[in-house]
Amino acid sequence: MNAVIVGCGKVGTELAQTLVNDGHDVTVIDNDEKALEQVAEAMDILPICGNGADINTLREADLQNKDIFIAVSPLDELNLLSCVIAGSVGTARTIARVRNPLYSKETEFLKNKLGLSKIINPEHAAALEIFKLLQYPALTRIDSFAEGKVVIFTVHVNSDYCLRDKSLQEIREITGCNILVCAVERAGEVIIPSGNFVIKEEDEISIVSTLEEMKRFFKSLKVKNKPVDTCLITGGGTIAHYLTDMLLKKGKHVRIVEIDERKCVQLSEIFPEAEVIHGDGTDKAFLLKQGLDKVDAFVPLTGIDEENIISATFAKNVSDAKVITKINRTDLNDVMDELHIDSAVFPKFICADIIAQYVRAQDNGVGGNVETLYRYPDNRIEILEFRAKEDKELIDIPLSKLGSRLKDNMIIACIIREGKFIIPSGVNMIKENDSVIIVTTHHGISALHDILK
């Protein structure tokens, strides 16, 4: 497909890279010549310098012949305006990033009135991600497939687990749960394991199952996985705003520490049930005074990555709380792996991922058939959902026969047939109209038959 991206900040760059890797033609528009040059130097895209809402710039980008138009500049209004203009110049589907909470209440209205295909709010998406993790504190990540019927979750194997030094086969027997370990991250390496693979302490394992099986899995291992009741947030920005809203609606107890008194007043006006504390969220003693050592979950959401990381590490030392850190910079994910903070949420990645998913779904009609896609933040693993169509090379063949023809580092994690969830073994086969979930270290797989050698 032909895509145009307006804005080459972190999200725009990340998105451009993903789309190029997926084999799309990408044109990037930005005002900043320097930033544009850097992106063009690093990847195979067409840079165009100009304002994304300028009709001449859009004509120069040959918008008449593009399929998708994505506005992710820092300005909501510019994004909306350029999508409207793009919609009138060409036939491309338009996606705008809108982050102001004020507008986000009218997302549907804006989308319909302005003729956009999608409005994405990265802060809201990040808050949702954090909220999901607070529901299942034992997880470091959770993603859902097939309309939420199937989940892939990641746990960090620490001393709480009796999984250490057990093979995957044994784990299934011990827990008696219908689960499949589809990826293991060990010492920075990502492995797609087979049945006799042995789990060690400090591994990050990703598991496919249903939501119920996941709950049973933790119960059988006697690992605490109850939703958190109390939550301490530092930094009262947009994400905190959305998150507080979600938590309060679930009847949780929320305490927000914010350094700016005016913001404190605003927050307390909007959320009378929340405890808004005026103070420095990076001050250790102050945090302890706010009950850091007793709280269920600690979520640092200040605007400064370094402060978030420092207070998260401190929290890990003094309490048992579930810690979820927000990181703005996309290049810090390697460092995060080594710090052993429970979970980190990268709003920019989430935003780029959601858009990339949308683009892939649009691509379905054009030949590919990816339904959903998730990537690990460091891009080493892709989890894809396909709808199986008529394909003689794949359909109705037992997987044991298919096995040798599959690419390396690729696993068929799950087959969903008529709403039923099947962890495949050698005797199973893919049938037409099945949803198939693939976990792989290969990039740019866009159709089910790509999984064959």
Binding site: N2, V20, D25, V26, T27, E33, A40, E41, A42, M43, D44, I45, L46, D62
Partner: protein, 480 residues
């Protein structure tokens, strides 16, 4: 410095060169000549490229520096392998001569050391002309079009090999851009060749002349140059030369039906304007000096040579030495201006001259109003200061290299006209100069030292200085 990616690029280019030797081989087979010189050369190319291309490194490490170095080394490698057919076939005995002729071929200069072109085997002549075609658009651009690269920094090769102050892609993917360029290039070449054949030019001549015109090279296959071809054929060659000197973006815009953008390109407009004015002045000038009787013939020869020189092709239909000084002067000026950026021609490029003229105009404005804020514009858009700065620096280093070359060649003791135009004609990739190295003369009488210097000038001129000069800079080879 990532040596592995450079080795891969150079190896791949040699591999492609070996494969392209199929063209002279076919030609030699048709004329019943020995194909062994080409077979040996191809085997040597494959032999050298084999160890380099075994492992394919990720192209992500191909940064600007690697792009320049790979381009410089590729062209030097091409020279030393491309000259082998001349030596193996016994057409030339001196290595200096073979190097000169090969560099002249690849850089699309068309300066020759041969005194009797017609004595060469047809296969060798075909190779000589075909080198123009390969070198015109560039072998690395060809490589980008046919070898799949992953990683996304492959533009750095294209930037280093393609002439012009700033190179932009036509479409998002570098490989697709390279393909489009070669499609335009091939289409124009085929049209030219077919037209010449339709006008009853012998097929061999038509192909060689077309390759020379397409690459803006200028090797001819007759001792008489292009003077014995019919007037219709000469007119076609004139149009072809001028067409290949146009920025290829122009054709791309026409191709995607955005002719408005195409005709708005200031560089192309100025290029056409310069050609038109030069033709008129020279026609009037040669007529008033009584060199031609018929205004039609004068116009034809003036147009042919203006087209030949500004596009830096270097074909000739007449001996220019008797032409009046004004005409010669204009032609020498055109040598330096050169063709459009993004074409196959050489020289300073019309866009650079335009930029320099406009930044001069701005300096005048600044002298009058020191606080004025003014941008240089091109195609209705402000030009980045870095491009202007780069263009100024380019002009300076261009002149320095020119002066040094003139001084070295002057040691041969030829006339000043010979010395000056020999350097100008090789440095700007034109071919023939005036006097001894004029359209009816050649470079064989120069010393070996001069031939080496002029060979280097041709390479530096074609690759626009930096890829070659970087090879001689210590900082390039430092690890950190």
């Amino acid at each position: 410095m990532y040596i592995s990616i450079i080795a891969y690029v150079v190896g791949m280019a040699l591999y492609i060169e070996g494969a392209l030797l199929i063209v002279p081989i076919i030609c030699a087979l048709i004329y019943g000549e020995s194909i062994m010189p080409f077979i040996f050369t191809a085997l040597i190319c494959f032999g050298i490229s084999f160890p380099f291309t075994r492992v394919k490194p990720a192209v992500g490490s191909l940064f600007s520096k690697e792009g320049f170095v790979a381009t410089g080394l590729t062209w030097i490698g091409l020279t030393f392998t491309g000259m082998l057919p001349f030596l193996f076939s016994g057409s030339m005995t001196s290595v200096y001569d073979a190097v000169f002729e090969t560099v002249s071929g690849y850089t699309t200069t068309g300066a020759s050391i041969l005194t009797d072109v017609e004595a060469l085997p047809k296969g060798v002549l075909m190779w000589r002309s075909f080198m123009h075609w390969i070198g015109g658009m560039g072998i690395l651009v060809f490589m980008l079009a046919i070898v799949p690269f992953t990683g996304g920094t492959q533009m750095n090769i294209m930037k280093a090999e393609s002439p012009g102050p700033s190179i932009s892609k036509l479409v998002p993917r570098a490989a697709d851009s390279a393909k489009i360029l070669y499609q335009i290039y091939t289409a124009l070449t085929v049209v030219t060749a077919l037209t010449l054949i339709a006008l009853k030019m012998p097929v061999f001549d038509a192909l060689c002349i077309t390759f020379g015109a397409a690459g803006t090279g200028g090797f001819s296959v007759l001792n008489s140059g292009c003077s014995t071809y019919t007037i219709a054929q000469q007119v076609v060659i004139t149009i072809a030369m001028i067409a290949f000197g146009v920025n290829f973006n122009f054709y791309f815009f026409l191709f995607i039906k955005r002719s408005k953008l195409a005709f708005k390109m200031e560089e192309v407009r100025w290029y056409i304007a310069i050609i038109a004015v030069s033709i008129i002045i020279i026609t009037v000038n040669v007529l008033s000096h009584g060199i031609y009787d018929s205004p039609g013939l004068a116009l034809k020869d003036a147009a042919f040579h203006v087209g030949s020189i500004i596009t830096t092709t270097g074909y000739a239909t007449a001996d220019l030495n008797p032409w009046p000084n004004l005409s010669q002067g204009i032609l020498i000026l055109l040598m330096f201006i050169g063709a459009c950026a993004g074409s196959t021609g050489g020289g300073l490029k019309v866009s650079r001259v335009l930029l320099l003229a406009r930044s001069y105009k701005r300096e005048i404005a600044i002298a009058l109003h020191p606080d004025i804020v003014k941008k240089v514009h091109m195609d209705g858009k402000p030009v980045e200061e870095s491009v202007i700065r780069n263009t100024g620096a380019y002009l300076f280093i261009y002149l320095v290299i020119f002066c040094i070359s003139v001084l070295i060649v002057a040691m041969d003791g030829e006339s000043w006209v010979t010395t000056f135009t020999a350097v100008a004609a090789t440095y700007n990739n034109i071919g023939p100069g005036f006097d001894v190295v004029g359209t009816m003369g050649n470079y064989s009488s120069l010393s070996d030292l001069s031939k080496v210097v002029l060979s280097l000038d041709m390479l530096i001129g074609r690759l626009e200085i930096f890829p070659i000069m970087l090879l001689f800079s210590g900082a390039t080879w430092r690890k950190f």
